[in-house]
């Protein structure tokens, strides 16, 4: 495996993967707060008018961001500035296919590469539709990070893993973001199954809100993804969100890193 920002971030032990929506609140300051608080990987959400895989918290963040006038160009500017300030922290763009594909895959992949984006998660682009984005991203050295879910059986898993790079995101509940958490036992079994099938780090997300939950998952997985809880703080504190975000991130990061052997 070639050395990437991802391999370095996951090599230290369980990693905290933190998600916020771009253009919702003071995003550059919030991103700095995530890094200062100890987040190992950043997922920056690209807002979309129709976020059909998201629960109420991230839906609201999408609408706040678009309501504030966020454009795709603003998101790449935020990403590029982040890369200048934080040369080593992996940055992932997460969102939906239409805003990513609308100017063509080559355009999107080139913008990602130029802005120092390490990976892309496209929620509604299954492997069957890979040509829409995958080849262009791979040609630009940007990872396409796929999702595995509780519905991914033995037959499905190889399809998902083919051409996946960076890390594998395990969506621990069949559902939308920010709702219930899966039972720890089922997460442990699922991660074991995934790790038997891939050498990639496995990060677990959906429904993880507290340091206690994060710590428990960090004992069985390579990474823990927290999104809705952070996004809610941004919604609550608006322009002053950096402080509270830093605080929650620190508590989550301590819990995750504390699980390191």
């Amino acid at each position: 495996m070639t050395m990437t920002r991802f391999t370095a971030a996951f090599a230290r032990g369980p990693a905290l993967v933190a998600f916020v929506t771009a253009g919702d609140g003071p995003t550059p300051a919030v991103l700095d707060a995530l890094v200062e608080g100890g987040a190992d990987v950043i997922e920056l959400g690209m807002p979309f008018t129709d976020p059909m895989a998201d629960g109420p918290a991230i839906q609201a963040a999408n609408l706040r961001s678009l309501g504030a006038g966020t454009r795709t160009a603003d998101i790449f500017r935020i990403a590029a500035d982040f890369r200048t300030r934080h040369p080593d922290t992996p940055l992932v763009l997460m969102g939906y296919a239409n805003p990513m594909c609308t100017r063509g895959p080559e355009w999107f992949a080139a913008e990602c590469a130029k802005a120092g984006v390490d990976g892309v998660i496209c929620v509604d682009l299954p492997p069957e539709e890979d040509p829409e984005l995958g080849p262009a991203l791979r040609a630009s050295g940007v990872s396409l990070i796929r999702l595995a879910t509780p519905t991914s059986d033995e037959a499905r898993l190889p399809v998902i893993l083919k051409d996946t790079s960076g890390f594998l995101y395990y969506v621990s509940v069949a559902g939308i973001t920010g709702k219930q958490q899966a039972a720890l036992g089922s997460i442990e079994d699922a991660v074991a199954r995934l790790k038997a099938a891939t050498a990639l780090p496995v990060a677990v997300g959906f429904g993880v809100r507290t340091p206690e939950q994060a710590s428990a998952i960090a004992k069985v997985a390579d990474g823990v993804v927290v999104g809705s809880a952070l996004v809610e703080l941004v919604g609550q504190h608006g322009a002053n969100a950096a402080g509270p975000v830093r605080e929650l991130t620190r508590a989550l990061a301590d819990a995750v890193h504390g699980a390191r052997g």
């Binding site: 059909m52 609408l63 609308t102 069957e128 999702l147 069949a174 939308i176």
Partner: protein, 421 residues
């Protein structure tokens, strides 16, 4: 009619280079269609496709579908020559002009629209797959009512997602769904209309994949939905083709149908696609006008990805979806079924649009000339017929799909006409 009147397999034989063999094995109609869904849904979408292939080959499935369409829905629906409308439209025509206008009367179906054809097919698939809970989205409420109807008929619990704004403007249909035992959930995200109801239905589905079947109401969504909805709705065109041949000894010259997602239009058009002499016209909703707020995805949109398929969408340059507008809640959607996008690109079907005002005029025209109150959706088709009939020869035949009746729309029409009920 033949002894198998409604069978969705019993269609004109496919020719070489047939236009009726889409989509490809990956669910694409040219560059359109596909399966753009969250990974959680992929195994179910693949399973649905496999089950649909088996059902298509299963005579028992076929027989049950046909039986329900005949005895529960009331098919075949009549093919009707509209003498007074024909005469009225000929008045403004040059000598020798003024085509005959015929209607496929799908507004006479149980529940009052073509939507029930598809719901019967999909609930039979749901039962085959062992699913025990039904969900659907609805705009005008016609698909919601049709879904609630088949769910009641088969004793399955049913949840209907409907934009809060549509709940308000379609109160009679909301009450009908509740009478039929469905739970109606008003959706308050986004613009509170059909697109947002579809988002919410997808959120429900992804959280309940193990026991839930999503009955999509139009020929859109992830593969295989556009194909199976089209197949179930093709009963319209298949019947119409046989009826027209029997009554007149010839095929129609022009088919006309309104398009929101496009299920009634594809249902009428598809069995005629290989009949080169038959022209086709799809009619989108131009709302307040194409330079203002409208719902004409083909006229005012460009290709993009939403709700599981690639198709023409109303969107801005960043790919954010823009709000649609039409006086007809059933056409108030920023996308269109992917097969229509393909038929537009290859030029087999022409597409046009008519405004709210033109549709309202046509609505009243049909009431007064034929004693038929159409839904606002087919009123768009009638408005297009009104424009084109005087330009065609007297011996030519236009066949329009009267896909729904207007009882549900009388409050909207009254308000638009400034009348008090």
């Amino acid at each position: 009619m033949t002894d198998q009147p409604n069978s969705f397999r019993n269609q004109p034989p496919a020719q070489a280079n047939s236009l009726r063999q889409q989509p490809d094995s990956r669910g694409h109609f040219g560059q359109f269609g596909g399966r753009y869904v969250a990974e959680t849904l992929m195994p179910l979408v693949l399973e649905l496709e496999a089950e649909y292939r088996r059902a298509k080959r299963d005579p028992a499935f076929q027989a049950e579908f046909d039986d329900l369409l005949e005895h529960y829905v009331g098919r075949p629906s009549p093919l009707y020559f509209a003498p007074r409308l024909t005469e009225e439209l000929a008045k403004s025509a040059l000598p020798g002009k003024g085509a005959q206008v015929w209607f496929k009367r799908d507004e006479l179906n149980h529940t009052g629209a073509h939507k029930i054809n598809n719901c019967v097919g999909q609930i039979l698939l749901a039962i085959r797959m062992g699913k025990t809970r039904i969900i659907a989205e609805t705009g005008a409420g016609q698909h919601g009512v049709a879904t609630a109807t088949v769910a009641a008929r088969f004793g399955l619990p049913c949840v209907i997602y409907m934009g809060a704004k549509d709940v308000e403007r379609q109160a009679p249909n909301v009450f009908r769904m509740k009478l039929l035992g469905a739970e109606v959930i008003p959706v308050t995200s986004g613009a509170n209309t059909l697109k947002d109801a579809m988002n919410e239905a997808l959120r429900d589905w992804v959280a309940n994949v193990h026991d839930t079947f999503y009955i999509i109401g139009t020929a859109a969504g992830p593969h295989p939905y556009p194909e199976l909805v089209r197949d179930f709705q093709s009963v319209i065109g298949k019947e119409a083709r046989e009826q027209m041949l029997k009554r007149t000894g010839r095929l129609p010259d022009l088919l006309v149908a309104a398009i929101g997602g496009g299920s009634n239009a594809i249902g009428l058009f598809h069995p005629f696609l290989d009949d080169a002499s038959v022209k086709m016209l799809g009619v989108e909703a131009a709302g307040h006008g194409l330079d203002k707020e409208h719902a004409a995805s083909l006229a005012g949109g460009r290709p993009g990805i939403l709700h599981g398929n690639k198709t023409y969408l109303l969107q801005d340059e960043d790919g954010q979806i823009t709000e649609a507008h039409s006086i007809s809640a059933g056409l108030d959607y920023p996308g269109i079924g992917p097969e229509h996008s393909w038929l537009k690109e290859i030029g087999r079907v022409d597409y046009t649009s008519v405004t709210d005002v033109e549709a309202l005029d046509a609505f009243q025209l049909l009431c007064r000339t034929e004693g038929i109150i159409p839904a606002l959706e087919p009123a768009h088709a009638i408005a297009a017929v009104k424009k084109i009939a005087p330009t065609m020869g007297k011996d030519q035949i236009i066949l329009a799909n009267l896909c729904g009746r207007g009882d549900k729309d009388i409050f909207t029409v009254a308000e638009a006409l400034g009348a008090e009920i």
